[in-house]
Subunit: 465 residues, 2 copies
């Protein structure tokens, strides 16, 4: 008998949302409580919730906050995961294999030893370093607590003027949410078009659609100050040349990896501030420390460079991979192609792969084509227009990226390109893809194939002597 | 100067629908009328129409027949394509490089020489060799002429009882169409479940949904006779043990390649009766004869065997490839993975790759998994249930096939699997695919990924000693 096998290992997880709790749950599936103790520290009140669902809760599509919670602390505890809420990890002692934590209510501090550590500290919203940015009525929407605070503000505010700062995913989704709540919505955007994850020519289509919905779009605008009234509450958002009256302000200007702990402990961070891992999601150079979710950088399989993408679907996959490896199995996360999909009312917006500027930045020469098509056969009821842009590498024809803006049926078509990018297909190869066709589902040439044909022709054209 | 270059070549196209006219149009794009003369023979009254749209025209979703016509004979003629309607090609003289045709109205016959020949004769519906199968009120729905005849019957029939024979794509689509027209619909089906292109456990879901729509489903039933009344019109469909009263009967029992001409000319046919071509869509062994669309067999990239699939999307791709090659360019059609999508009212049905019996037939050992998920995040409004079945090869984990039955958002998800099959991905590789995620579009794990996870786990489980 080997006495050492009787000692239980302890897994410590920092962060109780998607990546952390997916890792904990998967590890638990593979190892029972007699083999593995699992302790999870979470700063907030909730576990395993869908931060991506917050705009739809705020907008009223989802009426019950608890429906955003995939698994409560009690449910995790029932599976022998020791969830410690309102407990912030304040220090990592990697040499000593322990973490220091503070109970946010009592202030009590203690050290917890670990055998294996998972860092899933997520991201924090970028808050502009501006006068008034912390005034009452100014909200981020990163956590369920944030969402509740915003809903409380909306319930207590008579005025109906909302300003959203930022026009990325969170910005456009929050614009829809506030529109649904009956607000007059102004979106103040630093870029030349909304959705800077698209090329400007595609972002322009989003701009037009949002204007059509009655949203006031202010592009090329830098917020200089958030103005408050005599009561200390927000009253307007100032840009370099104008003021926009506001009864409520939502900040949707993106997030940064929350890696202060990791940085202090000397763990490797990338150029975007995220933890760097290998494909097993182990922190590089560490055998017993994993990291996943919004606090890590991921390999972009198209550009070959690391990126920071805060997205629940990646966090869940990371957690699954980490939990499998922690639990003694074998799994890898190879990277991403940069797929994202969103909507503003009935406008669907999708992208995958590289934008023109991404391709240029990594030194790729490319062709870009844009086509118009429809979601269904043109003669079928409710066939709606769709614009597809495709980038392919010059000479080789390798698919580099796809962007789609349209109505119902547009968004998820990006998956075709996402799989093709992962497989390294060329535009030419894509032209004969055997995609699902019937008049209610697609024109006889799917819009993505129409784009592929045009891109392939342009690649060939560029070869002609 | 080379005098021979002044002689125009003549391309003869047999069949004026998707494959033939796509080929003609693409050839014309590449070669002007001074270089290439194009003659197209079409037996019917129409060119370039969507046969796939006929059920929606019959059902009333499409009100104007002409909307199903992508390009009229006049439009083709305006691009210097000499379309000869109501003209049937009756003989191929391959050694003499000429075709004999008959004007169906005048009965006049003539020979037309060609330099290049495209055979796009399509498919003909299987008509059961039964008493009464040609009675008034019994209709196929293969051509626009067929659709018009059926609509004329519906307009002239007081009774509201319709029997659809066959429960494949055409059968279920016609059941919906007749239901929409206010008919009491009975579907008589030889198989144990409708949609024999699915495994029976998935077909069963279609059965349940169709029953729920008020359609009477009769499985395991062989039609023995079509009974007529004193007026000679159809009055009932008889099976081995019952009679189903019918004011109108629609035959949707599949199609066979229309290759009588090719067979008589000694061209190579496959086991399904379709013409055999190489990847350039040239008829095997022939330099100057191409074939495409419903009259050819295509390579199934998953099984490695030839199949016959009558589908407009393939016909258009074939035409594009043929036209490019005829026009002096270079293009190939590598094959299919067997993707198909359809719907009955709001039930979406999709499949790609191999069914269990296909996999067994080609000697593949596999795992099969079935999962339930939803089209959107579970908490998002109108998240609808979806069943995904996945087959993966034992040991290697190679994806073999996917079947999906669900509501809105289910059908086109099959494209993810179609691209993955084309790329030869394993279920394990699919688990980390970077698919579009946002709550209105997908759960955080797309249903196809949930199936891939379960399939990958089962493949791994089968490896455990």
């Amino acid at each position: 008998m080997n006495m050492s096998r009787t000692r239980r290992e302890r897994l410590v997880v920092i962060g109780g949302d998607a990546a952390g709790m997916s890792a904990a749950s998967q590890a638990r599936r593979l190892k029972g409580p007699d083999e593995l103790e699992i302790v999870a520290f979470e700063r907030g009140h909730f576990t395993s919730y869908s931060a991506c669902g917050i705009p739809y809760w705020v907008g009223g599509d989802v009426t019950d906050r608890d429906r955003l919670i995939a698994r409560t602390p009690e449910e995790h505890r029932a599976r022998d995961i020791d969830v410690r809420l309102r407990t912030e990890v304040t220090e990592l002692d990697l040499d000593g294999r322990r973490v220091r934590s503070r109970d946010l209510d009592s202030g009590a501090e203690s050290w917890t030893p670990y055998d294996k550590l998972v860092i899933a500290t997520g991201a924090r919203p970028i808050r502009p370093d501006l006068p008034g940015a912390d005034a009452p009525g100014v909200h981020g929407v990163q956590t369920l607590d944030d969402g509740q605070a915003l809903l409380d503000t909306l319930a207590g505010t008579r005025g109906r003027r909302a300003v959203v700062v930022g026009a990325g995913y969170i910005g456009v989704e929050m614009a829809e949410a506030l529109l649904n709540r009956g607000y007059e919505v102004t979106v103040v955007n630093r870029g030349s078009e909304p959705m800077s994850t698209l090329d400007p020519d595609m972002g322009c289509l989003v701009h037009e659609a949002m204007t059509g919905l009655g949203i006031t779009m202010v592009n090329d605008a830098e917020v200089t100050k958030i103005l408050t009234g005599d009561d200390g509450r927000v009253r307007a958002v100032a840009t370099q040349d104008r003021e926009f009256p506001a009864d409520v302000v939502v900040l949707g200007i993106g997030v940064r990896p929350e890696t202060a702990l990791a940085r202090a402990a000397g763990l490797p961070l990338g150029t975007h501030g995220g933890l760097l891992t290998d494909r097993s999601m182990r922190v590089r150079g560490r055998e017993d420390v994993w990291a996943g979710g919004d606090c890590v950088e991921v390999l972009d399989l198209v550009s070959g460079q690391e990126r920071h993408i805060a997205l629940g679907t990646h966090a869940n996959k990371h957690g699954q991979v980490i939990g499998t490896n922690v639990g003694g199995g074998y799994a890898t996360f190879p990277g991403v192609v940069g797929t994202a999909v969103s909507k503003v009312c009935d406008l669907e917006i999708a992208r995958t792969g590289l934008r023109e500027k991404d391709a240029r930045r990594v030194g790729l020469r490319f062709v870009a084509v844009t086509i118009e098509s429809t979601s269904r056969a043109g003669y079928y009821p409710n066939a709606s227009p769709m614009t597809v842009k495709m980038l392919a590498e010059l000479r080789t024809g390798r698919l580099l990226g796809v962007q789609i803006v349209g109505r119902e049926g547009a968004g998820k078509r990006v998956d075709i390109a996402a799989v093709a990018l992962t497989a390294g297909m060329t535009a030419e190869q894509m032209t004969t893809l055997d995609l699902g066709y019937a008049p209610p589902f697609s024109p006889v040439w799917d819009p993505v194939l129409v784009a592929a044909r045009k891109a392939a022709a342009k690649v060939r054209g560029s070869l002609t002597p």
